[in-house]
């Protein structure tokens, strides 16, 4: 490998120290907003009142149970556990008391056992710093739903043997992918998609801090497109503001563009084809949509919204179309060819609808 690419500056030299300081300052200024506005304390977590309230109570009791956080992406799971750990241990202790393992780490059975055991066993020296620092350590298993069932069962034993001095926090999107014996050992906390008004508050706060000009409709469409995923909303907001530059106002179209939403007139065109049974027309329309790079799964979900609203189809017809959509969605997620699947969908629906 290129030695220069992986060049490591020698530690200690005065020049390198200065460079490092400068680079830290630059890094802070360029920090992506999703990190810059990551909640620092439990009080900053918005919209998850219930989870936060219960967690705060348990923290006071000095006896934390094992935890299981679940919910869709970008709703504050990782942020909450990090904030909780910071609240418990304070910034100095956190490094020695918290172990974070996520899906990027090797998490086979043996590795888990080894790492967790070593960490759990290294004794906790009492009362460093503050007195009310609790005696246990926390092991965070983020993205736990990507662990194999075997690794999860192995964890059961480990959890029990180490439970005197360690607490586990499992985090996942799909609680059903955590095996029952593991889930039943934990206090469960559900993280809901963020409510609109909370997303709005958070986004407006960022816009004020960062001096972003954005129309109220664009904020609304940002919230709608992100479907309660605040990370997505913040990500799109920052990208939009970078694309537009400082002076221009961010409008609805930019947001739609960034989110990869298929433009409404393209969807109109496809929907109009449903009422023709003309293969040539359908195939032309599909070829163009595919060449323009629109993703078939996005098209499918946007057409589905139309399907629910349309008044030209009977409910039987709608049910039949829904079945076609199901087939096509399955095929797409198996990696089938997008163009063929769209053709399939369009011709079948046109037979039902015409």
């Amino acid at each position: 490998m290129s030695s220069s690419f992986f060049y490591r500056p020698r530690a200690g030299g005065p020049a390198s120290a200065a460079a490092a300081a400068a680079s830290n300052a630059a890094a802070a200024a360029n920090k992506p907003w999703i990190e810059k506005y990551r909640p620092k304390t439990m009080d900053d977590i918005s919209s998850q009142e219930q989870a936060v309230a219960v967690l705060k109570k348990t923290m006071e009791s000095q006896n934390l149970p094992h935890l299981l956080f679940y919910g869709p992406p970008g709703t504050g799971k990782t942020s909450t556990i990090l904030a909780l750990a910071r609240d418990i241990y304070g910034p100095e202790m956190i490094g020695s008391r918290v172990l974070e393992l996520n899906a990027s780490d090797e998490r086979g059975i043996s590795v888990i056992r080894e790492k967790v055991k070593n960490f759990a066993r290294s004794t906790v020296s009492h009362n460093i710093g503050s007195q009310n620092c609790p005696p246990y350590k926390i092991i965070i298993l983020d993205e736990a739903d990507s662990m194999t069932a075997d690794a999860q069962s192995a964890l059961r034993r480990t959890m029990e043997t180490c439970s005197k001095l360690t607490r586990f926090c499992l985090i996942c999107n799909y609680v059903t992918r955590i095996i029952e014996p593991l889930a039943s050992r934990c206090a469960k906390f559900r993280f809901k998609p963020l409510e609109e008004k909370h997303s709005k508050d958070r986004l407006e706060l960022i816009c004020r801090e960062e001096d972003v000009k954005i129309s109220p409709e664009a904020i609304l469409s940002l919230i709608r497109i992100s479907e309660g995923d605040l990370r997505k909303a913040i990500m799109y907001l920052q990208s939009a503001s970078r694309l537009m530059g400082k002076d221009a106002e961010i409008g609805v179209d930019v947001i739609a563009d960034i989110a990869g939403t298929v433009p409404e007139d393209v969807i109109d065109g496809l929907e109009a084809c449903w009422r023709t049974r003309d293969y040539k027309k359908i195939s032309n329309e599909v070829s163009n949509v595919v060449a323009d790079g629109h993703s078939a799964s996005k098209i499918l979900s946007q057409l589905h919204m139309r399907l629910l609203r349309t008044e030209t189809l009977s409910s039987i017809q709608k049910a039949q179309v829904a079945e076609v959509f199901g087939d096509v969605d399955k095929a797409l997620s198996d990696g089938a060819d997008e163009q063929l699947q769209l053709l399939n969908m369009m011709t079948r629906v046109s037979t039902i609808a015409a």
Binding site: E143, M235, Q238
Partner: protein, 354 residues
């Protein structure tokens, strides 16, 4: 000697010939201090790679073009050795992790951690981060994608990821919400014509008749790489260009056309057996099975007159292409497709006779 497609690849954002809005946006994005992770998607030959190379140049200057290729060895937890070619400059690194199949997570994590731990060589460089380009990101396993989630957040300080893929349908939601989505649609036919004229001018081999340019562009299916390759072949076949000269076709495409004729000529076990032989021949020449199926379906659909049959053929093609992806042995599914088409066609003929 370099192929025209490589020789005339525009190397900076200003020289890109189409999607001027997108280029302007990207330029602003590069100029701002911050830069997000990116997911660049679009159909084959639409100019994704070209655009990414131009972005790198905009970010890092000409240094990003001084690239070299190294072979790296990675070790899986089970001590298996994997070899992978990696393209790198001082500022970025490119990988195609689908080359290592199911071990892609190990490779990606090793690489990203390594890159994240190193600093930019050049303390005066405008950007504090390095870029890792992941090609064919839609072929990443779920496991590898899950591994990227937290990594993308943790290493954001000095690492950015640019993923290239044909479709976002296979990229998991949590990754999409961590990236700026950049859609690179295929150029339109007139845009392709313009690029072809430009290439001819640079090669001093004009004039290129408008009508020939148009036919090349249309025949390419809006795939610019294909159009330029065909142009170069056309020049070898007949120069100076003539407006009625034949469009160069691949040998295997002609062969697929013969398969189509055979299917429509006779629908019986002997004919099926004959076709099987032809399919084997295609597979033996390393033509991708899905491509064979798609091309064959296109030929069949163009050939038959009946609108009903066209629709039906398209649906069968979608069904068997999906099977092909899921299954193990290509020939089974190709043959099943042909048998199905024969039966549908024969039944149709019989109903016409009555």
């Amino acid at each position: 000697m370099a192929l025209w497609v490589d020789k005339h690849r525009p190397n900076n954002l200003d020289k890109l010939d189409y999607h001027a809005d997108l280029s302007a946006h990207l330029k602003k994005l590069c100029a701002s201090g911050d830069f997000p992770h990116m997911l660049v998607f679009g159909p084959p030959g639409s100019g994704k790679k070209t655009r990414v190379v131009a972005i790198l140049r905009e970010l890092f200057g000409a240094g990003s073009e001084k690239i070299k290729i190294d072979q790296r060895i990675f070790e899986t937890p089970s001590k298996r050795k994997l070899e992978l070619n990696i393209v790198s400059s001082n500022y970025h690194l490119e990988v195609n992790p689908s080359d290592v199949g199911n071990y892609d997570r190990v490779v990606i994590q090793d690489l990203l951690k390594e890159v994240a731990q190193t600093q930019q060589v050049d303390a005066s460089a405008q950007k504090r981060f390095k870029v890792v380009v992941i090609h064919e990101a839609d072929l990443l396993t779920r496991d590898a994608q899950a591994g990227l989630r937290r990594t993308m957040e943790k290493y954001m300080g000095n690492l950015r990821i640019i993923m290239c893929c044909n479709t976002t349908s296979k990229i998991i939601g949590p990754i999409q919400s961590r990236c700026l989505l950049v859609r690179v649609g295929a150029p339109t036919v007139p845009e392709i014509c313009k690029v072809l004229q430009k290439v001819v001018k640079k090669e001093h081999c004009g004039p290129l008749p408008e009508s020939l340019a148009l036919r090349l562009a249309e025949d390419s299916g809006r795939n610019l790489r294909r159009a330029i390759l065909m142009l170069e072949t056309a020049k070898v076949q007949c120069h100076p260009f003539k407006d009625n000269q034949e469009i160069p076709r691949m040998d295997w495409e002609d062969f697929v056309r013969q398969v189509m004729h055979q299917i429509l000529k006779a629908q019986n076990p002997e004919s099926l057996q004959h076709v099987r032989g032809m399919l084997y021949e295609l597979l033996n020449h390393c033509i991708d099975a899905a491509t064979i199926l798609k091309t064959l379906a296109k030929e069949l659909i163009e050939r038959v007159e009946s609108n009903e049959l066209k629709m039906r053929f398209a649906q069968e093609a979608a069904f068997y292409e999906h099977r092909l992806r899921m299954g193990q042995k290509a020939i089974f599914h190709l043959e099943a497709f042909v048998a199905k088409i024969m039966s549908v066609y024969k039944r149709h003929q019989m109903s016409m006779d009555h």
